[in-house]
Structures are given as structure tokens and as C-alpha cells.
């Protein structure tokens, strides 16, 4: 590959427009980021029983995640070793084996090749052990979130998440019965680069009152963000935008489910449930957690979580200017069915392909792509310097902490991104093909 032009300056206060549009950059991202990071795939609650499966993507690579007969979650590339067709065509389900429709090559839940129907008729010796689906050997979970990596040598997930675990705990360990992810996800295609949605939810709190002005002008979320908002970089590339309320703030204000008065519109049963969760939180996770009201979380490179809206999102790259955006609704597993049903509105009134917020976000991301594609502006990189140097360690919160509109979440992301895409690629390694 040819050398890249300068893309990100030393402190990432400037980021080239090409970062979003260049075809070589995109290929490098596939090889050096999506093939070497931990990528979110599924939640354990989607794979409860032996034989349960979901299909998904690790970057552009289609995979199956299945609970095997041994009780473990196995991830295999969804492509037959004979002619390459997908061996699983559904988004989720329950299966004993996966069968390719073309010649009925048959695979176990863990990807082993079980049967080749015409083998006996042709008297062929086949090494079935070598012809299983490509296994994704690194599969690890954190609080039920299942991540997989195409890099056999990647550091353990716990270490990769580092300080991000504290913030993930705030939601994913909040409810006594854990959470349940309701799949399959909603999926929609946006004419944008995959990093815009990611960047938006790593900590771009600043666009709220403007792009979403009709909803967010003068609402309580905006007031809370102005007063108590913090922008945290737990580890470079990860992010957590939160509100940290003072000690002694009443439960109604801080609790999950109470956004801009939403809790008051719920039934008494739902309100009581939400309050009980909040009132137990200090004892369950610690006093700091009971003061945190989240906004957005991000795990490098493409996992996002909207705390208040209870929705996991993954930005799947498809081309420099095309992303398939997936969105899974999350509920407290132990909430009564009527409560879960009411909580749907936290998600789909605001987000998802018909969300009041999402409609403006998707359109803005598409418009940003058009701006990024202006070749004559190669010498005019984007400014990412708001709050430069203002972020500091914090007495209560792990990571580096800035005020709400500090863009350090994006600077840290693009510095990590730059290091990754400039790292030696498979094409530079003598043994590249064997990897």
C-alpha cells in the first residue's frame, strides 16, 4: 500500500477529511483495526440454550455466534469451506447444525465439518478436521456482553476495557437480575462513514441542543448536562459521557428511566420499580455509582451504548461512505412484563430508524460525508481542539475527565486510530499470508 498523507496531527486537534472518505484508509481500517480489536457481537441473554444462535459481523466479516453442545459460545465465519455460501441465513434461531444449501456440507454449532454428502460416492479422502468453518478463537464476555476478535494474540477483554468497566458496570450491573438484550437488532443503512456514529456516541454531547434543538432546547437533560455533565475518557478510544449529581440528590432525578420527566408518565408500577433499583444502587455498586446518570458510552472501535435510552449500537463499516447501523434494545431482565413494555418508549421514541433524535443524527452524518469528500479541502482538516488540555484525573472517577463539551473523547480516539492504521500491516509482514 502507498504511504498515507498526514491524517491526524500530533495532539489530534486537527483530523483530515480523508480520514472519512479515503479508500486506502478504509482498507487499512479493515486490516489493522477490525481484524485486531475486540468487537461486540451479541449478549449472553440471546444465547441461553444449547443450539441458540445469532448471526452478525466482525467488521465486514459475517459470523455465527452459537451456544454449542459443550455450553460454550462459539463464533465461526459464516461461509462454507466448499463454495463460500453462508451456512446460516437467519438473524437468530435455534439449530442442531448448520447446512450449506448448495451441496449440503454440514457443520456443527462449533463450526466443525460433520458431513459431506457426496464424499462416499466419490471415494474421496477428506480431512474434515481441516475443512471446518473458520473459527474465531477469541471470544470473551464482560457483564454478559460478548465480544470476539479475529486476532488470536489480542490482550484479554478485561484488560482491553480497563477503566471502561467502571462505566459499563453502571448500567450492565445495575439491575439485580441483570439485563436482557432483545434481538435481533434494528438495522439501517446510512450514507456516512462508520466513525461518525461512533464519535457521536463516544461523547459528542455538544450537538444536542443544536442539531436536536426542537427537542433539547430548554429541556431538563440540557440543564443537567450544563450543570453536572462530564466527559470521561476511561482509556484512549473508549468514552463515557455522564452527569455526576451532588451527594444527596433525590432518586427521582438521578435514576435510570427518568429523562426529562419521562418517569412521571409511567405507571405507578414502573415508577416504583425504577425507584427501587436506584435506592439499592449505592449498596450494590457503591455511592459514586448512585450519583451517576449516564448519557453515552463507547468501546473502541465501534460499540456504543445510549444509557438513558437503553440501547446498544454497533457501527458496521460497509464502504468509506456506507455504514450498516445496528441497534439492540436492552431491558432489566427481572422487570415485570408490563414494566418492560412501558420502557420501550425510552428507546424507540427517540432512537432507532424512526427516532426523533436519530432522524437528525443520520441526516447530519450523511451530510458530513459529503463535506469530507471535497478534495479541494484536503488542506483544511477538521478542528477537534475544544477543551484541549483541560481534561484531568478526577478524585472519584477513573480515567481522564473533562467538561461536557471537551472534545478529548474524539482526540483520544483518533490518536489510537492513527497508531493502529499506521502500524505494520499483514501486507508488510513476510509471513502475512499465513496469519
Amino acid at each position: 500500500m502507498k504511504p498515507l498523507p498526514p491524517l491526524v496531527n500530533q495532539d489530534a486537534s486537527f483530523v483530515s477529511r480523508r480520514v472519512f472518505t479515503d479508500g486506502d484508509v478504509y482498507r487499512r481500517e479493515q486490516q489493522r483495526i477490525f481484524a485486531r480489536s475486540w468487537l461486540y457481537l451479541a449478549h449472553e441473554s440471546e444465547l441461553k440454550e444449547k443450539g441458540d444462535f445469532v448471526t452478525g459481523f466482525l467488521g465486514e466479516t459475517p459470523v455465527i455466534a452459537a451456544r454449542g453442545q459443550d455450553g460454550a459460545i462459539h463464533v465461526s465465519v459464516n461461509s462454507c469451506t466448499h463454495r463460500g455460501l453462508p451456512v446460516c441465513r437467519a438473524e437468530r434461531g435455534h439449530a442442531a447444525r448448520f447446512i450449506c444449501p448448495y451441496h449440503n456440507w454440514t457443520y456443527a454449532l462449533d463450526g466443525r465439518l460433520l458431513a459431506v454428502p457426496q464424499q462416499a460416492l466419490t471415494h474421496t479422502q477428506i480431512d474434515k478436521g481441516a475443512l471446518g468453518l473458520r473459527r474465531v478463537t477469541r471470544v470473551e464476555s464482560y457483564r454478559g456482553l460478548v465480544f470476539a476478535s479475529l486476532d488470536d494474540g489480542i490482550q484479554p477483554l478485561d484488560q482491553y476495557l480497563g477503566n471502561m468497566r467502571f462505566y459499563l458496570d453502571n448500567y450492565f450491573d445495575r439491575f439485580p437480575g441483570g439485563v436482557q438484550v432483545i434481538g435481533p437488532p434494528h438495522k439501517w443503512r446510512i450514507a456516512a462513514n462508520w466513525k461518525l456514529p461512533v464519535e457521536n456516541q463516544l461523547g459528542d454531547v455538544g450537538h444536542g441542543p443544536f442539531l436536536h434543538g426542537f427537542i433539547m432546547r430548554n429541556n431538563s437533560a440540557t440543564t443537567e448536562i450544563n450543570e453536572f455533565g462530564l466527559n470521561v475518557v476511561p482509556e484512549p478510544g473508549h468514552g463515557a459521557a455522564i452527569r455526576l449529581f451532588p451527594e444527596g440528590t433525590d432518586s427521582e432525578t438521578v435514576m435510570w428511566g427518568s429523562e426529562n420527566g419521562s418517569a412521571r408518565m409511567f405507571s405507578a408500577e414502573t415508577q416504583a420499580y425504577l425507584r427501587e433499583v436506584q435506592d439499592q444502587l449505592a449498596g450494590r455498586l457503591g455511592p459514586v455509582h448512585a450519583r451517576i446518570k449516564g448519557l453515552t458510552f463507547g468501546v473502541y472501535p465501534n460499540f456504543s451504548f445510549l444509557w438513558a435510552n437503553s440501547v446498544i449500537r454497533v457501527s458496521h463499516p460497509r464502504a468509506p461512505g456506507q455504514v450498516d447501523y445496528w441497534s439492540w434494545w436492552v431491558v432489566p431482565a427481572d422487570a415485570p412484563p408490563a414494566v418492560k413494555c412501558e420502557l420501550q418508549s425510552l428507546y424507540n421514541a427517540s432512537f432507532g430508524p424512526a427516532g426523533l433524535f436519530e432522524q437528525d443524527d443520520s441526516e447530519a452524518w450523511s451530510q458530513q460525508y459529503l463535506g469530507s469528500a471535497i478534495e479541494q479541502l484536503d488542506d483544511q482538516p477538521y478542528f477537534y481542539g475544544l477543551g484541549l488540555g483541560e481534561e484531568q484525573p478526577h478524585p472519584l472517577l477513573p480515567g481522564k475527565v473533562g467538561t461536557s463539551f471537551n472534545e478529548h473523547y474524539a482526540r483520544a480516539f483518533y490518536l489510537r486510530w492513527k497508531r493502529d492504521i499506521e502500524s505494520a500491516g499483514d501486507d508488510a509482514r513476510p509471513d502475512g499470508e499465513a496469519r
Partner: protein, 188 residues
């Protein structure tokens, strides 16, 4: 049983109602459109999934019944709006700081395959309510050359009024798995 002349009148009345509704929406008269909704309206868009057919149902129409594809009630649908949310959407679309609608998309709604089912049970508490199926083709054009086509079915419950109808329920069955149009926050 209805006489066929009555059926034909009913068909005409529903078509006239739908054409006016489509025109109001294409002319962006969203606040006027709200007057066509019953106070208890439920406006849904289920998600549509790729699924595995139940082997026990193979070779029957049940095997590929549409119901398998549509998200069940315990899943979050793409949309489940009540009158309050539809009102917010209508007001938002006319506000300056609603950037995906400013400038507004150019839309054209074609409503066809109108099929009232006067014998179907419209459910408890109905006030002469009717179940009506229709199909739509919606052309959406935004900015300069961002052009898209939406297709789908509407499953409505309509309540006859002295003049026209009120929409009591609308379920929109879209023909996509991955949504390839810019937004589903429109009125279908």
C-alpha cells in the same frame, strides 16, 4: 351481509378518505392530518426479520406466514406511537430546528389495493370500526438528488364518522430487513 352496492359505496368512501390523507401529508399539512386520528390511536411499525421456518409447519402456508417475520409485542418495534408522540412529530416537522426536515423532503404517496373487510371482527369496544388493508408507494426526495422509494402495507382500523373516518389503529408492514431509506420517522 352487505349488499354489493353498499360495499361499492364503502370502498369509494375509504378511497376518498385515503386520497385526501395522502394529499395532506404530501402538502405537509401535518397539523390538519392530526384531526384524522382517533384520540386512542396506536401507530406501529414492527421490525421485519429473517427467520428460520418451523420444520413442523413445512409444506403448509403457515411455514412462511408473515407473522413469523414481524417483531412480537415483547420486542421493541421500530415504532409504537400514541397521539402525543404523533403530535410531537407533526409539530417538529414544521419547526426550524428539525434539521432532517429543513429543508423538507419532497414526498408523494400512492395508496392502492384498498381492501375493506367489513366482516372482520374489529375487536372489543368498536364503534362500527372497520379493518382495512391498503398498500403504499412513497417517493421521498431530499436535498438535491437523495431519492428513495418506500413500499409497504397498511393495516388500519377506521371508525366511520358523519364525514369520513378516524384512524384508530395503523400498522405499517415495510418490505425491508435492513432499512435502506434515510428515515422511518415519516407518516405512512
Amino acid at each position: 351481509m352487505m349488499r354489493s352496492a353498499d360495499r361499492s359505496d364503502l370502498q369509494q368512501d375509504i378511497a376518498r378518505f385515503y386520497y385526501r390523507e395522502a394529499r395532506l401529508l404530501d402538502e405537509r399539512r401535518f397539523l390538519t392530518w392530526l384531526d384524522l386520528l382517533a384520540p386512542e390511536i396506536v401507530y406501529r411499525i414492527p421490525a421485519r426479520h429473517n427467520y428460520v421456518g418451523e420444520n413442523s409447519a413445512r409444506n403448509t402456508e403457515q411455514y412462511h406466514s408473515l407473522a413469523h417475520e414481524l417483531s412480537p409485542p415483547e420486542e421493541a418495534p421500530i415504532r409504537r406511537d400514541n397521539l402525543a408522540l404523533l403530535t410531537v412529530r407533526a409539530q417538529r416537522a414544521l419547526a426550524p430546528q428539525a434539521w432532517s426536515d429543513n429543508p423538507p423532503p419532497r414526498t408523494r404517496r400512492m395508496i392502492s389495493n384498498i381492501e375493506p373487510d367489513p366482516d372482520a371482527d374489529p375487536g372489543a369496544g368498536s364503534k362500527g370500526d372497520l379493518r382495512v388493508y391498503s398498500n403504499f408507494l412513497l417517493s421521498f426526495s431530499h436535498h438535491s438528488a437523495d431519492n428513495h422509494l418506500y413500499t409497504g402495507q397498511r393495516r388500519d382500523v377506521l371508525r366511520p364518522q358523519e364525514r369520513g373516518f378516524l384512524i384508530v389503529e395503523r400498522t405499517i408492514i415495510l418490505d425491508w430487513n435492513v432499512i435502506t431509506a434515510p428515515t422511518l420517522a415519516l407518516f405512512f
